[in-house]
C-alpha cells in the first residue's frame, strides 16, 4: 500500500497518543478491517522504532565513552591528588599555626599597650569625653561598649569637621585637634582588634597608623613587625 503524507501524520499522531478518542476509535477500526493499512502502520512503527533505537544507542555509547574517559583520568589522578592533598593540608596547617601564634602574640602585646595607655584628659570637646569613656572600657575589658563608643566618636568627628569657625586660624586649630582625636581613636581601635584576636583588621589598621603622622606610629610599627 502506498502511504500518503496524511497517513504518516495519522500514524505519528496515534503513536504519540495525541489523537482524540473518536479519531483513535476510527483509526483502530480501520486497522482491524484493512490489512494493507495495518501492515503499512506496522512497517511505519518498526521504522520509527529503528530511528529511535539508533539515537538511543548513540546516546548510550556517548555515555559509555564519557564514563570510560572519566575512569581513565581518575585512575591516573590518585597519586597526584594524594600528594597535592597532603601538601595542601600541610600548608594549611603551617599557615594556621602561624596565624594562631600571631593572634596570641598580638593579643598579648595589645593587652600590654592597653595597660600602658595614658588616661585622656577631656578639654571640653565631646570627642574627648567619649575617648575617656573608651579608655575606661578598654581598661575594664568591656570591648563591645568600647566599639560602640568608637563608632559614636567617629560620627562626632565627622560632624565637627564640617563646622565653620569665624576665623581661618580657629578652623585650622579645630581641624588639628580633631585629627589628633582621630589618631587616638585609630590607636584604640587597633589595640582593641589586637586584643580580641581580629588579627587581619588589627594588622591593616596598624600598618596604616605606622605610615601616618600619628603619635603612635612607632608603637604601631613595633606591634605589627614584632616577630
Amino acid at each position: 500500500m502506498n502511504t500518503t503524507e496524511k497517513d504518516i501524520e495519522l500514524f505519528d499522531s496515534y503513536m504519540n497518543g495525541t489523537m482524540s478518542d473518536s479519531d483513535r476509535a476510527q483509526f483502530e477500526e480501520r486497522l482491524r478491517g484493512d490489512e494493507a493499512y495495518r501492515k503499512a502502520f506496522e512497517l511505519h512503527s518498526e521504522v520509527v522504532l529503528g530511528i529511535q533505537r539508533k539515537e538511543l544507542k548513540a546516546m548510550l555509547q556517548e555515555q559509555e565513552k564519557a564514563g570510560q574517559e572519566h575512569a581513565t583520568t581518575t585512575k591516573r589522578r590518585p597519586l597526584v591528588i594524594r600528594i597535592s592533598s597532603i601538601l595542601a593540608l600541610a600548608a594549611c596547617l603551617f599557615i594556621g599555626i602561624i596565624i594562631v601564634h600571631d593572634a596570641f602574640r598580638m593579643a598579648n602585646l595589645g593587652g600590654d599597650y592597653i595597660a600602658q595607655l595614658e588616661q585622656p584628659v577631656p578639654r571640653g570637646s565631646g570627642v574627648e569625653e567619649i575617648l575617656a569613656l573608651i579608655y575606661k572600657d578598654l581598661q575594664q575589658g568591656n570591648y563591645s561598649n568600647a566599639q560602640e563608643n568608637i563608632d559614636k566618636a567617629r560620627q562626632l568627628i565627622q560632624e565637627e569637621q564640617s563646622i565653620a569657625y569665624p576665623t581661618e586660624e580657629e578652623t585650622e586649630y579645630h581641624q588639628q585637634m580633631l585629627k589628633l582625636d582621630s589618631d587616638e581613636l585609630d590607636w584604640y581601635q587597633a589595640l582593641m582588634y589586637a586584643k580580641t584576636h581580629k588579627i587581619f583588621k588589627a594588622k591593616k589598621l596598624l600598618k596604616q597608623i605606622a605610615k601616618s603622622e600619628s603619635s603612635h606610629k612607632e608603637e604601631a610599627k613595633t606591634l605589627v613587625e614584632h616577630k
Partner: protein, 182 residues
C-alpha cells in the same frame, strides 16, 4: 530518589538525563552479577548491558511495562538474562520460559522471536546508513520530539509544510529500503 514510574516516564519521553542516570546507576551491579554468575567477558557484558537498556526502552515505548510486579532494576536484569539466553543455547537450558513470560519479555515462540530480531537488525542497518537531511529531520522529529516549527527554524525550512513533505519523503525512502530487504 526517583520512583520507577518517574524513570519509566523519562524513558517514554526520551529524557536524556533520566536514561543516562538509570544506565549509570545499574551498570556496576549488572556487570558484577553477570560476571560472577556466568563468567562472561567485560566486553560481552557491556554489549549485553546496552542491549538490555535498549530493550527496556523499547518495551516501555510499546507499553509492555503497564502491569509490572518487579522493580525496574529487576526487570532490566531479567532482560539481560533473556538476551543472554537468546545469544547462548547452553544458557537457554537454565532459564524457564515461564519466568520470561511473567515479565512480558517474550510474547511469541522462539522462531518468531528470531525472525523479529533479524528484521530489527536489518532495519537498524538501513537506518544507520541514512544521510542528511533525513538523518537530522527524523532524529529531531522522532527522538527529540521537536515540533514542525522548531525543526523548520533549526533546519532553515521555509514552512512546517516543507518539513512535513521532507519527513514524508525520508520515511518513504526508508520504508522502500526495508521492504526491498525482505
Amino acid at each position: 530518589m526517583m520512583t520507577d514510574q518517574q524513570i519509566i516516564d523519562g524513558f517514554r519521553n526520551n529524557d536524556r538525563k533520566i536514561i543516562n542516570g538509570f544506565y549509570a546507576a545499574n551498570k556496576g551491579a549488572f556487570l558484577n552479577h553477570f560476571r560472577n554468575s556466568y563468567g562472561k567477558s567485560d566486553e560481552y557484558l557491556l554489549d549485553l548491558y546496552q542491549d538490555a537498556n535498549v530493550t527496556l526502552w523499547e518495551n516501555i515505548q510499546k507499553g509492555k511495562l503497564g502491569k509490572m510486579t518487579s522493580t525496574l532494576s529487576t526487570y532490566l536484569f531479567a532482560v539481560g538474562k533473556y538476551k543472554m539466553m537468546a545469544n547462548d543455547r547452553k544458557f537457554k537450558e537454565m532459564t524457564t520460559e515461564v519466568d520470561l513470560q511473567n515479565l512480558n519479555l517474550i510474547d511469541s515462540d522462539a522462531e518468531e522471536m528470531e525472525e523479529k530480531e533479524e528484521k530489527e537488525r536489518k532495519i537498524d542497518e538501513i537506518v544507520n546508513k541514512m544521510t542528511y537531511p533525513c538523518s537530522d529531520i527524523l532524529r529531531m522529529h522522532y527522538w527529540e520530539k521537536l515540533s514542525g516549527e522548531e525543526i523548520a527554524m533549526q533546519m532553515k525550512y521555509a514552512s512546517t509544510d516543507a518539513v512535513k513533505t521532507q519527513k514524508y519523503k525520508c520515511m518513504q525512502k526508508l520504508k522502500q529500503a526495508v521492504m526491498a530487504a525482505f
